[in-house]
């Protein structure tokens, strides 16, 4: 995408004009950023069982996947694991435009972080990430996952 920046001291109201061919996720992300609505996940380091660590902001782009375990939601990033104070359903809705799709009852994966999809001998399909971890794409969510990928391609 071409980016033009104009400095005009006389401008009374700063503004952004976006020319786009179709409303794809990247454009939506741009709109969210301009409107200061870009979703950020707030979380705490999940190491040990301490919940009183410093709260930090996590950029969804850095998240490999979200895992719901023992009624707690964890975000797996390259920098570590963080506990997120939201529900999986909320995150699913919030991060739809950011490449996140549900692949099982307890996992939401970032399709932009998947290195490859691999079928196992037992016919289960795993999404493998750059950090070496893998998440099973549950067959109940297969259709939804397929539709999401098609939708993302159509919009991209």
């Amino acid at each position: 995408m071409k980016l033009n920046l104009y400095e005009d001291k006389k401008t009374k109201e700063e503004h952004v004009d976006v020319y786009f061919t179709n409303m794809r996720p990247m454009i939506r992300q741009l709109i969210d950023t301009v409107n200061s609505e870009r979703p950020m996940l707030s979380g705490r380091p999940a190491d040990e069982d301490l919940d009183d660590g410093d709260e930090i902001m996590i950029d969804p782009k850095e998240v490999y996947y979200l895992d719901f375990v023992d009624r707690k939601l964890f975000a797996y990033t390259g920098d570590g694991v963080f506990r997120v104070m939201k529900t999986l359903a909320e995150c699913e809705e919030l991060l739809w435009n950011y490449g996140f799709v549900r692949v099982s009852k307890s996992d939401l994966v970032n399709v932009f972080k998947i290195r490859t999809l691999k079928p196992a001998f037992n016919m289960k399909v795993y999404a493998c990430f750059d950090n070496g971890e893998k998440i099973c794409v549950n067959r109940s969510y297969k259709k939804k996952f397929d539709e999401y990928l098609q939708e993302m391609r159509r919009m991209a």
């Binding site: 932009f112 079928p119 109940s140």
Partner: protein, 139 residues
């Protein structure tokens, strides 16, 4: 196009099954053809197998391979119960039992193999799609 052929195939299956069943029942009632009872038994086997296979989406945590084996065993057991009931009316020879299991197992294994292969092909296709999406996102 795919949807059209799927629909066509469904119509063909329904019409063929309806005609065969009607003919078999008619012949059985009128005592025209002795093979009509076999058609009805085959229909009962197909019905049992279809019901068992339709439960594929259940137990999502069980691997597809394990699910295929479980479904095969359940379908075999239910069909065996049906045969056992039918053998009370007309005795079935040991060869008859063997023939039944052979004619049930061979198509099942072939379809399971096709399904297995389709999982690999589908995953490969999805991998290409993923790469395409990721490439476009980076641009």
């Amino acid at each position: 196009m795919k949807a059209y052929f799927t629909k066509l195939l469904i119509y063909l299956c329904i019409s063929y099954t309806s005609i065969s069943l009607t003919a078999a029942v008619y012949n059985l009632v009128n005592g025209n053809e002795p093979g009509s009872a076999n058609t009805l038994v085959m229909f009962a086997f197909c019905l049992i197998s279809s019901i068992v296979l339709s439960f594929y989406e259940l137990l999502p945590d069980v691997s597809p391979l394990a699910m295929i084996i479980i479904q095969y065993l359940v379908a075999c057991a239910l069909c065996a119960v049906l045969l056992l009931i039918l053998s009370l009316i007309e005795p079935i020879s040991p060869k008859g039992w063997f023939e039944y299991y052979r004619s049930f197992t061979i198509p099942y294994i072939i379809w399971a193999g096709i399904y297995y292969f389709s999982v690999y092909l589908d995953t490969r296709k999805k991998n290409d799609l993923l790469k395409e999406i990721q490439k476009k996102e980076k641009e």
